[in-house]
Symmetry: C2
Subunit: 144 residues, 2 copies
DNA sequence: ATTAATTCGGACAAATTTGTCCTTTATTAT
DNA sequence: ATAATAAAGGACAAATTTGTCCGAATTAAT
């Protein structure tokens, strides 16, 4: 569904949000450890998210990553997915046809339409804030 | 969603089915041309499908690939997907967690559940036959 | 000012996926 | 039997994704 990079990105963002809600800024090291991802690779993903203004990064001692309450409410899952994987999840034909459309559908076009559409809706309406809520109450997990 | 190999595999199988319905066995060359895929790579995918008894292959002059009417009705999309991509589409956690489950859910688990489930249902109920029907009437397309 | 902590960014490396080429094997037709 | 045709299969190559390493830049604390 999503690339590894994207999975890490979503997990990292949710974790950062959870900590930000408690007033804590978190380091790369802590993030990679908490979401169980390779540190250096995760750094790249975080850079990308920061450049896309999904999270904020602060250099230097006591630096790290954070996300404002306002942003975690405003930013939806779809923003992260687009930033990392592009829009292929939404637009790519199920069978990989370049020109697939209502007017020129591949054989599975109408079968996939509803599923793709509900995925899109879900991604576009689910906020980071919402996803971070369960975390501190131990309802949702980001690793084993 | 699916790998390239899987996309080619589905397109190829649907094409073969469409031709088999008209009593024609088709060559690798014809398949690759008709579904607009790289020939040698498509050959590998077809081998895999044949080994999984999704299609039948015949060597020698006037050989090629075909699929019986009975099989195209019996075989569902899910068989092709499993054969080529494995079952990750069904089982892999949306965020890539090894241990995600109802009891130990990732933050998007319940958001994804319905979508994943309807995808599974769709794949498990859609037959090759069904998908090949539109083809010869020009309703569905396998390339531009 | 110096040092230490931390992200940034570039270059590289490994793994996986995608794709090609060529020889072998099976089958048909002559 | 022989030749021609087509898939099978192995080895290799290219592209992409995933992952690592290390020095540079920035910032905070002393």
């Amino acid at each position: 569904m999503f690339s590894r990079a994207c999975e890490y990105g979503i997990r990292a963002t949710i974790y950062i949000a959870g900590e930000s809600l408690e007033g804590r800024r978190v380091s790369l090291k802590a993030i990679a450890s908490e979401i169980d991802s390779p540190e250096a690779f995760t750094a790249k993903v975080l850079q990308l998210l920061a450049r896309n203004e999904i999270i904020e990064s602060v250099k230097g001692p006591s630096g790290g990553f954070e996300i404002s309450r306002k942003n975690m409410e405003k930013i939806k899952l779809s923003r992260i997915v687009s930033a990392i994987d592009g829009d292929s999840v939404y637009t790519r034909c199920g069978l990989g046809l370049k020109t697939c459309s209502e007017k020129h559908p591949c054989p599975v076009h109408f079968k996939f339409m509803d599923i793709r559409e509900s995925l899109r809706t879900m991604l576009e309406t689910t906020s980071i804030y919402e996803l971070s809520l369960g975390l501190n109450e131990g309802v949702g997990f980001l690793k084993k």
